[in-house]
């Protein structure tokens, strides 16, 4: 058995088998988040794609790659979103160098 199965994405609702009340609350919130608002569906799909890469969730990457295409985005725009997520991940690691500096400085003469 593989840990990730492509078809499992379509089986997401099965998560609601236990405590369906909680799953329904989640889905209502999730779907409300997708609607056009101050941000367009397209902008939200690009944010979703970026977050999916930051989380490295294969289901979300699949779902939001499709969502971006179906919102009219192209690979250039999607790649920029992925770079944004990656740059933040890189920056978030890199800024911890200051923790290392602090730690080293604390015990150094």
């Amino acid at each position: 058995m593989a840990y990730y199965e492509e078809d499992d994405l379509g089986r997401f609702s099965e998560v609601g088998k236990h405590r369906p009340d909680l799953f329904e609350k989640f889905m209502a919130w999730y779907e409300a988040c997708q609607e056009d608002g101050a941000l367009s569906r397209r902008e939200k799909a690009l944010i979703g794609l970026a977050v999916a890469h930051a989380l490295q969730c294969p289901y979300c990457i699949d779902a939001y790659s499709q969502a971006c295409l179906e919102a009219g985005s192209n690979m250039e725009q999607m790649t920029e979103a992925i770079h944004m997520a990656s740059a933040l991940r890189g920056g978030a690691s890199l800024i911890h160098a200051l923790q290392a500096h602090n730690s080293v400085n604390k015990v150094s003469m």
């Binding site: 379509g10 367009s40 569906r41 397209r42 295409l69 179906e70 009219g72 192209n74």
Partner: protein, 340 residues
Amino acid sequence: MISKALPVIPDGATQRARAAVGFDEKLAAHGLGLRRAGVVETLQVNVGKLCNQACKHCHVDAGPKRTEIMTRETAGQVIAAVRRFRIPTLDITGGAPELNPSFRHLVAEARRAGACVIVRHNLTVMFEPGQDDLPEFFRAHEVEVVSSLPYFLEQQTDAQRGAGVFRKSVEALRRLNAAGYGREGGALKLNLVYNPVGAFLPPSQEAIEKDFKRELLARHGVTFDQLYTITNMPIRRFLEYLRRSGNEERYMRKLIEAFNPATVEGLMCRTLVSVDWTGRLFDCDFNQMLELGVAGELPQTVSDFDPSLFEGREVMTGAHCFGCTAGAGSSCGGAVAVGD
């Protein structure tokens, strides 16, 4: 010729998509049926499968090697029907309809009969021998031009329609603009068609139209009137692509899950009759390619056509119909449930 011909897919009957749910079943589950409206507003005529392009998604399976082409006699029967029944709109498609020797005659006579004429013009045919005056011909006959341009970027357009198509299409758009087409507030209408470059649904028509207008003007200085979003139909060449790429099941599931009952009332098959190159009648161009004729009790050919007999009659359906009811819906005039 711009593109190499793709293999011709021989048998319409075996080229039907497989779906887990029947289209009629789905309609019934929503308390709906699919019957024709009271009037036939459009006669859509496919004058042949000959085309200078061989696009990867083409539901007609058209290309440079196709020989099926409407004769002058059949074109005459179409004109007679338009004139006799005062059909409001003649929608001419192909292939590249301009390559049919009777094309200009058909346009001129239909206009003389008082019909609005739409031509599904692929833009690049303008650069074929003897076709460079098309913008002037369209203008002289006040033809509404509808042209496919799947995306405002070269890579996506050429991936679907063939190498070099985007650049030629932009040049053709410039010539149409120069002839007065696609100018804001102008009478000469130039509408573009977006369809997805792959196995996914189209975006919001309103949103992508804004992108096309902004990008085509900024990058290439061209303008147009409306953008129609059209869903790729799971038949013929696009179905072959779905099967080859392992996407058929996923795409059909997507179409079925996106079924929108609000699209049914506006489906084009309710107000349009489709005519093939031999004069045979169909409920739409997609049924035509699947050789799924109009209901057996109706006239089968344009020579026997009488729109009054079609009023309220059953529309022939198949799994491919899920393509027209997904999301905002799809028709030859774009989305059918805009704002839904």
